[in-house]
Amino acid sequence: MATYPQNFRFGEFVGSLIWLIFWILVIVTLVGLPLIFIILFYVPLPPVGGQVLTPYLFLTMVVDPSRTMPIIQHLMTTDLFRVAMFPGFTYAALIAAVTIFVERKFLAKMQLRVGPLYAGKIEGILQLIADGLKLIAKEIIIPSGADKPMFWAAPIMFVATAAAVVALIPAAPGYVVADVDVGLLAVFAILGFFPLIALLFSWASNSKYPFIGGLRALHQMIAFEIPFILSALSVVILSGTLNLTGIVESQIQSYWFIFFLPISAFVFYISSLAELERIPFDLPEAESEIVAGWLTETSGMIYGLLQLGSYVKTYALAALFVVLFLGGWAGPMVFPPQVQTPLINIAPLYDQQAANGTLWFTLKTFGVIMLMLLPRGISPRIRIDILLHTGWYKMIVLSFINIFVALALIYGNILGPGGLLVR
């Protein structure tokens, strides 16, 4: 069976491609380049490295790599870089992408399979790109009777909310998008949006199975929100601050909080699994029971965005675990104080503390993410009544135990008075 058009000619296809490239080149040279020059001429550019940036200078910097360094250095101090690149979205999305790939291979090895294998020759390394292209190419089907604005808005809101959590997390000393004093409180405030989005999206789908899934998501997230917050409360009692950077610094001054509060860490881990809707807590998406839960009516890139959002959320919660219990970016120094590279000198960009912090933070976060992936290979799905019982009875009691431990440590003068950070 031929799937290509009847009058398909390969030569014509190649010829059309060449024509396309030709016209693109013509348009770029005749319209694009003059346009760039006009813009560069009129837009006032910031002074970089003591020189006013003129179009001429800009082009020399593009040609000479050593002269690009000041521009990059300048960019790295801007908020845009923080938001879009390093502790912000690109870093989170990159980790999410690696997580998806690692999860598939890791689970495959656990289940005596090979996992993705063909895309990209080396162990299916490009599988994610292939999947992404497939999702983009797919038609987005909206059920008749669906609430269209809500249906379109929910996936974008989901990703945006996940990215908002990422914005509050310090990845390296000084590298945080929003360093607010009530950072931990803000994290929980933003996490509170997720059940709302799930419920609104499921209601907007105008279908039965998504509705049941949305209600389940709501029940589950409310049941685990309280132990989630209570387990973080003991950390706040110990460190004496709600600022996430402050929490990390207080751990650098003493020990990691997981040694003082192992039960809190356990409760936090279980609650974050429930928050992430991962197996064994994937009830809102329970496939054999309610088709795909609140994702039933999603298709194409709407599904892709929701998946991206949930993996960014996985990164955010794993990073939060690292910040609260595993000492954030703390770790032995492995980088030299200065670097010398041949050809292009990146010394002005190099920051020993930031590089070291990023390395340890990334390693720890990946460790926690792997721990979050593990239950998927060994556990069946839990039932909703057992889940609610676990959340409301067991987890809350467990998290209270460590609150008392933290209070005893503080008021017994075993740790610093009024929190570790206060000196």
């Binding site: 656990m110 289940q111 199975y209 088709v291 069946p380 799905r381 039932r383």
Partner: protein
């Protein structure tokens, strides 16, 4: 203090369009199947009140293929390949009882070596079916490792059967008069090695699935089918054995050489979801012992198939023979009018009788237990529809 009734009357006087909620308004009707990932080729309508199922109406028939009618237009040998289509994973067992019935009608004596090989093929096929069933049970409960492991190990049994019969799933191996061909060289050693490996794997299954606390929580005490109800509903196979009735056709009315084999009928007394999911697993362990014994006791040489006429036919008459398949008693009622083509063939399958227990078990359970209860009934929709 005004009661709800007064308020309702009052609102009527004010001209408000208030409609009282009826009992039916609380219920949500869900159609499970045939496009639902937890149903198979089968549909049942359930009504849920909150999270509880209050009504269940099974609706089989999506894969009805008229196997029984097709039998009337073909002679007895031509019938074999299409008769195994209802359960391709258990194809040796579904042709086993057919062969037994035809042999009784036509008065054919099967050689002893043929009987042993026939039993061997059907035991191997039982393993294939049960592994597939277990894989689906695993994924129904969200346990993806339990889907992959049995599916992978099933491949090894399929390889064995391929060496034995020449086909991977639809063997057409058990025929009236014996089996199609003798076992290949070195099959016994290969098969025994396989069994040793598989028994080790079964322990791992138990560790990762049956002994998992979350699995126990989900299945223990769920959808209990008492001994009396099980007998009254006429359920078969692992379902009736899980309710405390040690009934196995291989023991109750031994066919071929099964009376020479030493094996236990595995049964449990609780009758809950866990027992129904655990009895097939115990059967797999028992089946391993049976296969080892069959390979030991098999005559070293001899005929494997009785000589038949080109078109075997017997005197007019009727017969009913059954075997223990992966899903319980699987019987054939065949009426012959003396011609090579059967006059009437009726297939009696365990799946259909197990499906009848579904509405009784599902009502009162939670929606989350629906796949666990449904698949614990050891039901194969295609076989039930025939």
């Amino acid at each position: 203090m005004t009661s709800l009734e007064d308020k309702f009357e009052e609102s009527k006087k004010l001209g408000l369009q208030i409609v009282r909620e009826s009992e039916e308004d609380r219920l949500m009707t869900l159609s499970v199947g045939p496009q639902h990932p937890g149903s198979g080729h089968f549909r049942f309508t359930i009504k849920v009140d909150g999270d509880y199922i209050v009504y269940c109406d099974p609706d089989p028939g999506y894969v009805h293929r008229g196997e029984e009618k097709m039998c009337e237009y073909r002679n007895v040998i031509q019938n074999i390949p299409h008769l195994e289509r209802p359960v391709i994973h258990d194809s040796s067992n579904i042709t086993y009882s057919y062969s037994l019935a035809i042999e009784e009608l036509a008065g054919i004596e099967v050689p002893r070596r043929g009987q042993y090989i026939r039993a061997l093929a059907s035991e191997l096929n039982r393993q294939v079916y049960t592994l597939y069933w277990l894989a689906i049970y695993g994924i129904f409960l969200g346990h993806s490792t339990m889907f992959m492991w049995p599916t992978g190990d099933r491949e090894l049994f399929i390889d064995l059967l391929e060496a034995l019969t020449g086909a991977r799933v639809t063997h057409a191996f058990n025929i009236p008069g014996g089996v199609r061909n003798d076992i290949p060289d070195g099959f016994k050693e290969r098969c025994l090695r396989q069994m040793r490996y598989f028994q080790k794997r079964l322990k791992e299954y138990e560790d990762i699935f049956y002994n998992m606390p979350l699995f126990r929580q989900r299945t223990e005490g769920v959808a209990v089918l008492s001994k009396e109800d099980a007998v009254k509903l006429g359920v078969a196979g692992s379902v009736v054995r899980a309710s405390g009735v040690p009934y196995d056709i291989r023991k109750a009315e031994p066919y071929d050489i099964y009376n020479e084999i030493d094996f236990k009928v595995q049964y449990m007394k609780t009758g809950d979801c866990f027992a129904r999911s655990y009895v097939p697993f115990l059967d797999m362990q028992e089946s391993c012992h049976i296969i080892e014994q069959l390979l030991d006791k098999m005559p070293q040489s001899g005929e494997v198939r009785a000589k038949l006429q080109p078109n075997p036919k017997g005197p007019p008459g009727e017969t009913y023979r059954r075997v223990e398949s992966g899903r319980g008693a699987l019987g054939y009622y065949i009426v012959s009018d003396g011609t090579p083509k059967p006059y009437r063939v009726k297939i009696s399958v365990g799946s259909f009788r197990n499906m009848l227990a579904l509405p009784y078990l599902l009502v009162g359970q939670k929606l989350a237990d629906m796949p666990a209860v449904y698949w614990s009934l050891n039901y194969w929709p295609v076989e039930a529809d025939r």
